[in-house]
Symmetry: C2
Subunit: 412 residues, 2 copies
């Protein structure tokens, strides 16, 4: 029998508790060992709940109990999670976590500590909720050189963009619905500003290249500027708009970006709707492979956490994680990255504005709004971000153009 402790009895923690009870028989069979919770750490008490008799308030009770072989950290946030996890590993206890902030910031260090102690630090649930992606990247795609990872890694924003697209609603309306349904927090910035997706792509890229990516260096743009008017054009073009977290690896180096992107229906990510997540991985041998499922939620996330616990039980004194070193890798400046953009402008003189666009951008991909006669949009050729931004600045100076209403990255 293996005794474990759960740190935090919030949404994920109570999900882990529930899954361990619900599927006890099959989980024990898969682990070839009985897995039982001995402690649940939380500041609160839960007098009405069966869990109460396992509740402890002091982490040291867990840390100093040699019977505890695995600690499940599902508190979230960097502190005190980092201190607890570090101490647990140093005391020879394997750690399983769903905490993306912790993993993005200290993943490499904690993996190193786990390796030194010949135990494990596992974090499948930190990216893509229940979707298996960390283990496949580590263990299944080992014959390939991975050159791109692009994901829909945030369910809240995907729900919002899907609803805007399907029901023709504006940003504020769908945000309110998402909040009412519990998909979005009262302070939604971690989701809608792209910060959540940014930490997750940093983790995936770090694993793919085996080096530390500083997530603060990743260009991150959320969905707060996406309007009903933008979506109308996207629908009119029979395309789809998604918040994509992307990382590409080529001979020049590595870059990463989180931003809304207009994509065509031949891109399998275009079919990923509502709260679902998906991660598309491209390898030089395997081609495109995609992993799809529920990227958040109590039970799907708990499923990934408990699967990691099973793996930790099967490898109690054997380190199984591949290398992700603390050596930092600087990513390329986004300015130099080539891209195409969808640009919406309003004008004072339509014909002159069209000519200005054609002259400056060398494109004739112009899309006229069905709903508004005072604006149009165009699709640029593929050029660096910097060149496109310089041209936008020149365009604004033309007297025939009133305003650049929005710019959105475009993959035709």
């Amino acid at each position: 029998m293996v005794k474990i402790a759960i740190l935090g009895y919030g949404t994920v923690g109570s999900g882990v508790w529930e899954v361990l009870q619900k599927n006890q028989t099959s989980i024990d069979r898969n682990a070839d060992e009985q897995i039982r919770v001995k402690y649940v750490l939380d500041l609160r008490d839960f007098p009405e709940d069966e869990v109460q008799k396992y509740i402890v308030h002091d982490f040291d009770t867990i840390l100093n109990d040699d019977e505890i072989k695995i600690v499940v950290e599902v508190m979230g946030g960097v502190e005190p999670a980092y201190t607890f996890v570090k101490k647990a590993l140093l005391n020879g206890k394997s750690v399983v976590t769903s905490n993306k902030e912790l993993v993005a910031k200290y993943g490499a260090k904690l993996l190193k500590t786990a390796k030194e102690k010949n135990i494990n630090f596992l974090f499948e649930a930190s990216v893509g909720g229940g979707i298996p992606i960390i283990r496949p990247l580590n263990q299944s795609l080992t014959a390939d050189e991975i050159y791109e990872i692009t994901g829909i890694l945030n369910g809240t924003t995907n729900y919002m963009l899907t609803k805007m697209s399907k029901e023709g609603l504006d940003y504020d309306e769908v945000l309110k619905t998402a909040q009412d349904k519990g998909y979005a927090e009262r302070n939604p910035s971690a989701d809608v500003e792209g910060f959540d997706a940014c930490r997750k792509i940093a983790i995936l890229l770090s694993i793919a290249i085996g080096k530390q990516i500083d997530y603060e260096s990743i260009y991150t743009e959320g969905i707060t500027n996406i309007t009903k008017a933008d979506i109308d054009y996207v629908t009119q073009m029979s395309m789809s708009i998604k918040l994509l977290a992307s990382a590409k690896i080529d001979n020049n180096g590595v870059w990463a970006r989180v931003s809304p992107v207009i994509i065509g229906y031949e891109n399998p990510l275009s079919m990923v709707n509502d709260v679902f997540n998906a991660i598309l991985v491209k390898g030089n041998v395997i081609g495109d492979v995609m992993f799809y499922g529920k990227g958040a939620g109590k039970l799907p996330t708990a499923s990934a956490v408990v699967a990691d616990v099973v793996d930790a039980v099967k490898h109690l004194n054997r380190n199984i994680m591949t290398a992700w070193s603390s050596e930092k890798l600087d990513i390329l400046d986004i300015d130099g990255v080539e891209v195409s953009k969808f640009i919406r402008i309003s004008y004072t003189d339509k014909e002159k504005a069209i000519n200005a666009v054609k002259n400056l951008f060398g494109t004739d991909k112009i899309v006229f709004s069905k709903n508004n006669d005072y604006e149009f949009a165009f699709i640029t050729n593929v050029e660096t971000e910097k060149i496109i931004n310089d041209k936008i600045n020149q365009l604004i100076n033309e007297t025939c153009v009133s305003e650049v209403l929005n710019t959105i990255r475009f993959e035709g």
Copy 2:
């Protein structure tokens, strides 16, 4: 350094050779060990090819060379593959295979032998080509009770159905195109009759339940009866038709089936087009999770084979496969399985035929053909296969009905 032998220099074998050369550096890094080919077994010689100096014609050369730690079997077919693989395992050599016939028939036995010798028998490439599915089922979905696995497991038929749907072509036309493009064999029956998909779902189900499923007991219907007229209705209903290989596990037992199914756009499998494959797995905790990618082809299949070789190298003297015992599990008779069906009929008297359908089947889901005034289709309620078939036999006896033109399973 670990020395390996490849049995068979056909499509997959030459792909494995190519991948091992192309990505040698990254593969060696992932395996933490140099992996080098010492022998390639083939009856033929390849005098123009660099591989020639590794070619041997006698399996015993490989079998009796203690330096060979891993044998890659990519010949296909049951014999002599089975004899070679068994001998290799008994001689202490781990085996990696892409051979679905071999795995479906002898997987449990070969896993047992590998376990007894504390080595490995790995077969990720036998289902879904490059798509990671065997390893995720074994190692990532261990917290769940899996209650359904449904896949598009054959790229040839998916290409054909996609092309029929998109271009309004008939079966014979797309078969010819598929053969011309090399997607279908000159004798296409293994693909179009569903036999290929049948072996693959048998493997997935066997792993999910840990017992032996006799693939010959799985109801298997191919796509040879699907016509342009059927597809017209599917398009008219804004739905999609796919050859699905399905297995379900519930309190009554286990059943499996390969057949064309009409599915709605909310089913993520509906978005899987052309030669792509996908496997949708449903667990009682994780919900729906889908794995998508190229299900066949030289390099994607070789990617999965080589990833297994890397795993075998990392576990040279340690068995890692979960249990799939030789204990046989009988699957439920398809007659008792509940289903809804799309049924096309022609009539001598339209109003009477409609009434007969309504009376017999208790449904008012009737779809009139846009192209043909001598037929219509209807969707049955969910009932057992047997009850629906009995009602169809009664319907044929009505004088107002001329013919049942086709019946296709339907999941609305």
